[in-house]
Symmetry: C2
């Protein structure tokens, strides 16, 4: 029997308890042993809850109980999750987490600590919710040199963009509606400014490189400037606007970024709609592969945490291989990365724009007060200079493929 402690009885934590209870038979079979929730750590009490008697308020009770070998850290945030995770690993207890913030900040250190203490620090649920992506990267694509990961990693922004596309609505209105429905937080910055996706692509990129990709160095741009007019053009171009989190090896170096992109309808991420997430991985032998599913939500995320517990149960006293060193990956300056841009300028700037951007492709969607076009491939720096030289744009969105 594996005695498990759950830290944080919120959405994901209570989901973990529910998944283990609901799928008991199949989970115990897959784990090769019985999983038992021994403690639930929370500041609150839960009178009337069926797990009421497992709730404790002192982490040390868990830490000092030698029976507990696996800890689910579903608290979120850096502190005290970081301290608790370190103490647990130092005591040889494996930690399974959904905490992308903590993994992005301290992943390599906690993985190293797990190794030194013959246990595991697993974080399948930290990216893509219920989509198996960490484990495929670590266990399945082991014969590949991976050179690109492109993901739709945030369900809230994908829901908003999908609604904008389908209803022709503007960002602010859809955000409000999403907040009312509970699909967006009252403080939506972490999602709509791309910060959440940034942490997640940092984690995936670190696993791809085997070294640390510092999320603070990843260029991040949210979706707040995307308007209904942009979608009118996108439709005309048979494209969609998606918030992509990507990292790529190019001949000029390795870059990572989060930003809205226009992608064509043939792109496998084109049909990833609503709250769904997907991760697109490119390897030198396999070519493209994609992983798709629910990127958030209580039960999908909890299912991923429990799959980590099962993995711990299958590897008692053994550290499952995971390559993520402390050494930092050098990232290209985003200004030096190259791509095409979709640009909207005021109608009267048409000739100026055509002169500044030698070769352009006009996009006419019937909006007479503006002139819209797609540029050639150029560096971000070059683009910024040219667009500044004509006094800026109404909006610009990068093109992918």
């Amino acid at each position: 029997m594996i005695q498990v402690a759950v830290l944080g009885y919120g959405t994901v934590g209570s989901g973990v308890v529910e998944v283990i209870e609901t799928n008991k038979a199949v989970i115990n079979k897959k784990a090769g042993t019985e999983l038992n929730i021994k403690y639930i750590l929370d500041l609150r009490d839960f009178p009337g809850d069926p797990y009421e008697d497992k709730v404790v308020h002192d982490f040390n009770m868990i830490l000092e109980d030698p029976e507990v070998t696996v800890i689910c850290e579903t608290m979120g945030g850096i502190d005290p999750a970081y301290t608790f995770s370190k103490k647990a690993l130092l005591a040889g207890k494996s930690v399974c987490t959904s905490n992308k913030e903590l993994v992005a900040n301290h992943g390599s250190e906690l993985i190293q600590l797990a190794k030194e203490n013959h246990c595991n620090y697993l974080f399948e649920a930290s990216v893509g919710g219920g989509i198996p992506i960490i484990r495929p990267l670590n266990y399945s694509l082991t014969a590949e040199k991976l050179d690109a990961i492109t993901g739709i990693l945030n369900g809230t922004t994908n829901y908003i963009l999908t609604k904008m596309e389908e209803d022709g609505a503007d960002f602010a209105d859809v955000l409000k509606e999403a907040q009312e429905k509970g699909y967006a937080e009252r403080k939506p910055e972490a999602d709509v400014e791309g910060y959440d996706a940034c942490r997640k692509i940092a984690i995936l990129s670190s696993l791809m490189k085997g070294k640390t990709v510092n999320y603070e160095k990843i260029y991040t741009e949210g979706i707040t400037k995307i308007t209904s007019a942009d979608f009118i053009y996108a439709k005309k171009m048979k494209r969609s606007v998606k918030l992509l989190a990507m990292s790529k090896g190019t001949e000029d170096g390795f870059f990572a970024m989060v930003a809205p992109f226009m992608i064509p309808e043939e792109h496998p991420l084109f049909n990833v709609k609503g709250v769904f997430n997907a991760v697109y991985v490119h390897g030198n032998m396999l070519g493209d592969s994609m992983y798709y599913g629910r990127g958030a939500g209580k039960l999908p995320t909890a299912s991923a945490v429990v799959s980590d517990i099962v993995d711990c149960a299958r590897h008692p006293g053994k550290t499952i291989m995971c390559f993520w060193d402390a050494e930092q990956v050098e990232l290209m300056d985003i200004a030096d990365t190259k791509r095409r841009f979709f640009v909207r300028v005021k109608a009267e700037k048409k000739e100026e724009a055509a002169a500044a951007f030698s070769s352009i492709e006009e996009v006419n969607a019937g909006l007479t007060e503006e002139f819209a076009f797609v540029t050639d491939v150029m560096t971000e720096k070059e683009f910024d200079e040219k667009i500044a030289s004509i006094g800026g744009s109404i909006n610009r969105i990068r093109l992918e493929n």
Copy 2:
């Protein structure tokens, strides 16, 4: 160091050698040890080949060499692959295979043999080529009760259907072109009649149930009856025709089948085009997830075989958990499964058809000589009886979702 023998130096076998050579550094890092190809078994000689001196013709040389711990069976077919695999496993040598035929026929037995001899029988490459799907089912979705798998599991037929859709061409013409391009075999039955997809869904279904789903009992229908007219209707209905391999738990029982289906454009498999494959999995906690990539081809398939070798290297003397018992899963008679049907009958049968199928939805695509419609949900048996009562149809295609 892990000494590897490759059985069969054909497309996949030579791909295995190429992948190990090309990605040596990353593979050895992920394996935690060096992989070395010690033998290549083939009936032929390969003068001038860089691996010429590793080629042997006698399997016993491999079997009797205690240094060899992992064998890649990339021969295909039942014999002698079956005999060689059994002997290898009995000698405690792990076997990694791309041989769907053998896995579908003897999977549970060979897995059991591996367990008894503390080694592994791994077959990631047998389904979906380079798409990681076996390992996600076995290692990632361990907290799920899986109730449905729906896949596009054959690249040749998907290529043909995609070309028919895009070019408005007929089956025979596209098949001919595909054969000329090498995308289809000269004897195309295994692909176009659905036999290949049938083996693959048998393997996935067996892993889903943990028991054997006998491929001989899976209802299998190919794509040879699909015509360009069907695609005219499909377009009108905003649907596509795909050869789906599926297995599902329903309230009436568990069924598995391979057949062409019309799927709507919102369906995640709608955009799976050309030679790409995808597998759509439904679990009770996670909901839907999908795995997409190249379903065939030398290097993608070889990459999957090598990922299995890496897994063997990571688990020396240990059998990785895999649940697939010999006990057979009872399958529902396909006649009792329920769905909607798209049907084309001659124009003069319009009234008769409307009378036989109480509630129908006409599909008018401008083909005046026929009357096309979609039925209500009904059992296959009920549908067959009704359609027989009006003297048959020009064609009928099942609807999914």
